[in-house]
Symmetry: C2
Subunit: 470 residues, 2 copies
């Protein structure tokens, strides 16, 4: 066992309970069950779940973890797809769900301060109430917390124009694994004082610190948003359209793609007959001043037609947009429930290589007796490859298919994770992408932050064969 | 002496010379002189200057530095304002000026790979030749290197819309202080695999690694750019205009400010009579589709008039724009040459607090017998406060004024450096902004990367009284 933690005895549980605000400890079995899983379909059972009411509560739990050698796994809303918030080594799950204050909304300076447990959609709404805009839109942002979004650097459709969660974080407050509090970054639009600890914590998947508050920058709200759904009879035309749009100087705020396997799951929802045997769908949205985006959308429609679009469904009002996004959302949900084995991958490749990646899928489907659904953010090359198998016994095969797909993505100058993160699910594959020098350096950073390895142990880095040094 | 380095004996110099590509060592005294200074007016004399021709050259110098205990100070073009590239502890200055290849320009995927010594303006030009746009525009980008821009996370007027250098760096190649090479980040638009070493190296001012190559993301080139220069009879009206513009949903690609002291240096260049005794100038630019920005500029002009603009000079073509930017550039140059003592500060504050900061300047001018010139990037609150004194003996007073100004900026929820960095010039002030926990953590990261402290020692962190531990 690489991490010989102490079990949480009743005595230790009592100490934890006494140290935090009354009402912070979850004890009912049915309630505890929620904290055993996330959206990855992986499961781990913690020994105890704490929902701190304050930063001081967080600090006390961490201090006790160092004293009594138990692991602490931070958790937002458990909507992650990589098992990053699961208590792989049991111990305490620390949920930020009660840290939900929004102490600062400052429309003049375009900044907002939020606690880590605020639901991401509520951040967007609070910004809009102040006349401003928080662009990131990860799937499930009506569930996920802003702290979880930061810990995983969550993406979403709008990334193609606006970047990821990281790009909106000016500064953080966090409890370090040694129990100390730290404030990083600035409350201004710029700041270059010392090392960028903010970005080091962001995307570290809760292994370097527990984020408790975030300073976010907001931008002016785009006055209008319109879009369309477009179907092609093949995938190549869809992908040629994506590269043509990006090369034409337009910058849509979403360019989503659904392959023919995804379309087969939601065919009945579509307002058009499906062309060909392997149809593809693009969902494209533009935001900005109304006149401008109307003109741009018309140019893009012409471009799509030149690429052989079989049908174009415009979405010029909110209801039409919602109908289209509902199709997109249903794809995720139906894949999730499609088969017993479900491995949600999210490679990213240069957009010119997407077609090559997707063309190769039938080879792996055949080789490993799996079904692979491809959809995602074509505008930034981030394609979700959901590898599924009806038969639970086929999990090993599905994992082999995943490994081949990751290798292919890397060969295409891509990455093994565009936005989901590594967590538990993909840690064994880390050495496929990162050099031994990089991994060793990152592990030494982890050790520097967390000498006792109490914070989210067993995540991100591959398990090592135990070495005995004396 | 906190860093007891070995002097570079002839024998060590010979080893270095033998280890690198012939022609990499600069020996002529007049040429060496260039490497003793930067734009901060500080000076340090290195024992040797190396201009590597390859990454292997860089590695070999670093390996020898570890073996023979001499410091290595990386340097781009020496256009920094904080002394970050000066050989404070003598030893070797390692200039990246000959690492000037651009091995990849990929317009389809919107990425470019450049070596660290490429001049920033050449990156912009290479992007434009591919039909794309590299937005960062730090002052002196016709001199500065992209590696130096990355090491300091350089800003510039366009930051208000486009962010800083950091926001365009997808990945890096660097030589670590232990001599190992590392590749960080991705070549795709997104990537969340492991810790964000890219952003840790960016802005670390050459203390954690020598950046040798960068993968940059490019965006579609805005089809048009127009602007204006506007003069007000007082500063408050100018600042009210800035907050009004930002609150109105417009996002200009520059909102520059000149205070009355700056204007007094370039009055003869202006095409209008100066109103009042403390006039202020704003330079505003918008980029995007021509129709849209013309409409926006007209709205902004009306807004400026409502705020009491005394004169508005439009810039609708390239020549008019250049005339306006020439005024702005002359301000920097003339302040630089204005007085014997010149300390270029670059605090950033929330934009709503700029007026309060500038209103306070006369108090410090009087208290310390200095003159303070305020200009800069009003749109993101990054104001350059150049503290000057005619009399060289007044340097201590000028430093006291700086310290007061930094304290005031922090009181206004600002930062002591918006874009110049800490380097040598401001390291003593680091504890004013960062907590002991943050500084200690950052110093331990430095130690982790650079156990022998050979890479750019004496920068960023305040000098410590020597402690003897055995």
């Amino acid at each position: 066992m690489p991490y010989p933690f102490s079990p949480l005895t009743s005595a230790i549980k009592d100490k934890i309970t006494a140290a935090v605000t009354p009402g912070s400890v979850i004890t009912e079995n049915h309630a505890l069950k929620i904290y055993t899983g996330d959206a990855s379909k992986l499961h781990c059972t913690p020994e105890m779940v704490i929902c701190p009411h304050s930063v001081a509560d967080v600090q006390r739990v961490i201090q006790l973890a160092n004293s009594y050698n138990f692991p602490v796994t931070p958790r937002g809303a458990g909507s992650g797809l990589a098992g990053g918030c699961l208590a792989d080594h049991a111990g305490v799950v620390l949920s930020t769900e009660r840290l939900t204050e929004i102490p600062v909304i400052d429309p003049v300076n375009g900044i907002i301060k939020v606690q880590a447990g605020v639901i991401s959609q509520d951040v967007k709404s609070a910004a809009e109430a102040g006349g401003l805009y928080y662009p990131p839109d990860p799937a499930g942002m009506d569930l996920s917390t802003i702290g979880g979004n930061a810990a995983t650097d969550a993406g979403g459709p709008a990334c193609v124009k606006y970047g990821t969660t990281r790009d909106y974080i000016l500064g953080l407050e966090a409890v370090l694994p040694n129990g100390k509090c730290i404030a990083t970054g600035v409350q201004t639009r710029k700041g270059v004082v010392g090392y960028d600890l903010t970005n080091l914590l962001v995307g570290s998947e809760g292994t370097l610190g527990i984020i408790t508050s975030l300073w976010l920058r907001l931008i002016p709200k785009p006055p209008a948003i319109i879009g369309l759904m477009c179907v092609f009879s093949d995938m190549a035309s869809a992908m040629n359209s994506v590269t043509a749009i990006m090369a034409s100087g337009h910058l849509p705020c979403a360019i989503e793609f659904l392959d023919h396997k995804c379309i087969s799951l939601i065919g009945e929802m579509l307002p058009f007959a499906l062309p060909g045997t392997t149809p593809s769908i693009l969902i494209i949205e533009l935001d900005g001043p109304e006149n401008q985006i109307k003109q741009e959308l018309s140019t893009i429609e012409q471009l799509l037609q030149r690429q052989g679009a079989a049908a174009i469904i415009p979405a010029t009002n909110q209801q039409q947009r919602q109908e289209i996004w509902n199709v997109r959302r249903q794809v995720s949900l139906r894949i999730h429930d499609y088969a017993n084995v479900y491995i949600p991958e999210d490679v990213a490749v240069p957009i010119s290589a997407i077609a090559q990646l997707i063309d190769a899928l039938p080879v792996y489907e055949k080789k490993y007796s799996v079904e692979i659904f491809a959809f995602g953010h074509a505008g930034d090359g981030n394609i979700h490859l959901s590898v599924t198998a009806k038969d639970s016994d086929n999990r090993d095969n599905a994992e082999s298919a995943v490994k081949d797909l990751l290798a292919l993505s890397l060969k295409l100058n891509g990455t093994i994770s565009g936005e989901h993160g590594i967590g538990l699910a993909k840690k064994r594959y880390l050495p496929m992408e990162l050099s031994p020098t990089s991994i060793a350096l990152q592990q030494s950073i982890k050790k520097l932050f967390d000498a006792n390895n109490i914070l989210n142990p067993g995540k991100v880095f591959p398990d090592q064969p135990e070495t005995t040094t004396t």
